[in-house]
Amino acid sequence: MRDPVSGVARAIPPSGIRRFFDLVQTMDDVISLGVGEPDFSTPWKAIDACMVALEQGQTSYTSNRGMPALRERITDDLARHFGLCYDPESEVIITTGVSEGLDIAIRAVTDPGDEVLVAQPSYVSYAPCVTLAGGVPVPVPCLERDRFRLNPDLLMERVTPRSKALIINFPNNPTGAIMTASDLKGVADVVEDHDLVLLSDEVYSELSYGQAHVPSATIGALRERTITLNGFSKAYAMTGWRVGYLCAPPELADAALKIHQYVMLCAPHMGQVAALAALRSAQAEKDAMIAAYRLRRNLFVEGLNRAGLACHMPEGAFYAFPSVASTGLSDVEFAERLLAEEHVAVVPGSVFGEGGADHLRCAYAVSREDLAEAVRRIERFIGSLPERAAPAAELRQPAA
C-alpha cells in the first residue's frame, strides 16, 4: 500500500513535550505550570446567559461572519478604548477561537513558496500553519537582551524579496513580553518598507499589567495591512467555548471569510452568546481575574529569582520565562528532571522556537498556594544540583 498520509502532514514535527505528558499521567501530586489557560471558570453571568439562550433553542448556525450584535459590540469597544474603527459588516469575522482566525488569516495571504516571518519564541502553531498553507516559516528571534521584544534590526536581517507577511504576538506567549507604541513603530517601518502583511495575535491584550496595550493596527498606516486576531479565551477564562475574532480591511477580511465559510461555516452559536454576555456584563469579573494574575506574577517572579532562576518581570499574559543558564542544565534537562524529581511541570523554552532555548515557560495561572509550593520545590531542586563555580548572576547570558 502506498503511504496513506500526505507528505505535508508527515513533515509536521510531533509535539515537543509528549514525553512530559506521559510522565505527568503517572503522578498524582503534580503542580502543573505547563497549562496555557486560566484556572478560573468562565464568569457565571456568561454561563447563565448561555443557558437561557439554549433553553430558548438558540442552537442554529449563525451568519458566517458571526452574530451581528457580537460584531457590533466588539467594534464599539475597539473604537472606545483604542480609537480603532472597523465596520462590523465588512471588516470583522467571529472565529472558532484565535486558532482558527490565525489559520484562515495565514491562508488568506500566503501563496506557495511565500515566506512568512514568525517572531519567536512564539505559540507553537504559527510555523506549522504557515507550512500547511504552502508557505515557508522564517523565524525572527526576540532576544532576552531586548526584553523579548521584536527588534526591527533583527527583523530586517530575515526579510527577503519572498517575504509576504509577519506574525507577531504581544503580550507574548511564552515570554510575557509586550510592545510599546514606539517599539511597534520600528516594526511598522520595516513592514511598510517591504510591503508585508502584519498578522497580530493580540489574545493576551487585556492581560497587560504595567502599561496599557497598544493594538498594532493603531500604529502609523498599519491598519490597512494588518489582520488583528483576538478572542475571549484568556481575558474571560473562556478557552473551551472557542470564540475569537478577526479584524481586517475588507479585501483581507473577504478572503479570510471565503475560507472560514468552507472550513468552519460559523463559530459555535452558544459560545458567541456567552462571549456577548461576557462583554456586556462581566467586566468586573474580568478585572478581578486580571488583578489576581498580577499578584500571582509578582509572587512567583520574586520567588523564582530568590530560588536562583534569573527571570525578567513579564509585563503581560500569564507566563514567566526564567533562564536556566545558571544551573548548567539545558531547558529540556531542567524541565525533565524537575518533573521527575519534584513533580513540577513546566515547558522547555526551546519548544517555542528561536530565542527560547535555556528558558522555561511557567504559567502562573494557578493558585497562589500552588505557586508558593512550586517555588519551594524549584528551590529544593536547584539546591540538589552540584555547586557551580560562578555566582548565578554572572553566568546569566542573554539567549542568542
Partner: protein, 167 residues
Amino acid sequence: MVIMDATDTTLVQLLEENSRTPTVELAAMLELPAAEVEERIRTLQAGGVIRRFTAIVDRTRTDLGEVSAILELKVSPERDYGYDRLAERIARFDEVRSVRLITGTYDLHVLVTGRDMQAIARFVSEHIAPMERIRETATHIIMKSYKENGTLLLGRETGGERQPFSF
C-alpha cells in the same frame, strides 16, 4: 474613618482570603518592602479596619454538629434610641453570630447557632421572644448552606478537567 488607598484595599482582600499569608509573600505581591506591609497591617488594626485574624470553620464536616437559624424580628423602636439598645442587647448573647437592621416586613435579621434544633428553640423562646418591644418573631432553621462569605460550598470540585499541558 480610615482612608484606604488601592494597596490597602488589595492587602485587606489578600488577608481575608488567607490571613496566614506570610509577610514576604504579601510584600512580593504588592511590590512593597516587607516593613511597609507590616506597618500598613498595624495601621489597619489600630484603625479598627482589621478587627481580628480568624479561621472559617465548617462544622458540618466534623462530628461536632451545629445548627444555625435566621431569626427575623419585628420591633417597636424606642424613643431616643430607635433600634440600637435592643439590637445591642441581642448582640451580646454568645449564640448570636450577627445582628442586622433591615428594611422590609421585619426590622432585625439575626443569625444564631446552637448545638441542635432544641438548643436554638430554647434560646429563642427563653431569651429573645420574651424581650420587651419584640412584637413578632419568625425562626428559619438553615437546612443547607451553598455559599458563605463569598466562598462556594458545593461539596464537589468545580471547574472541569484542565489538561496538564497546553500551549
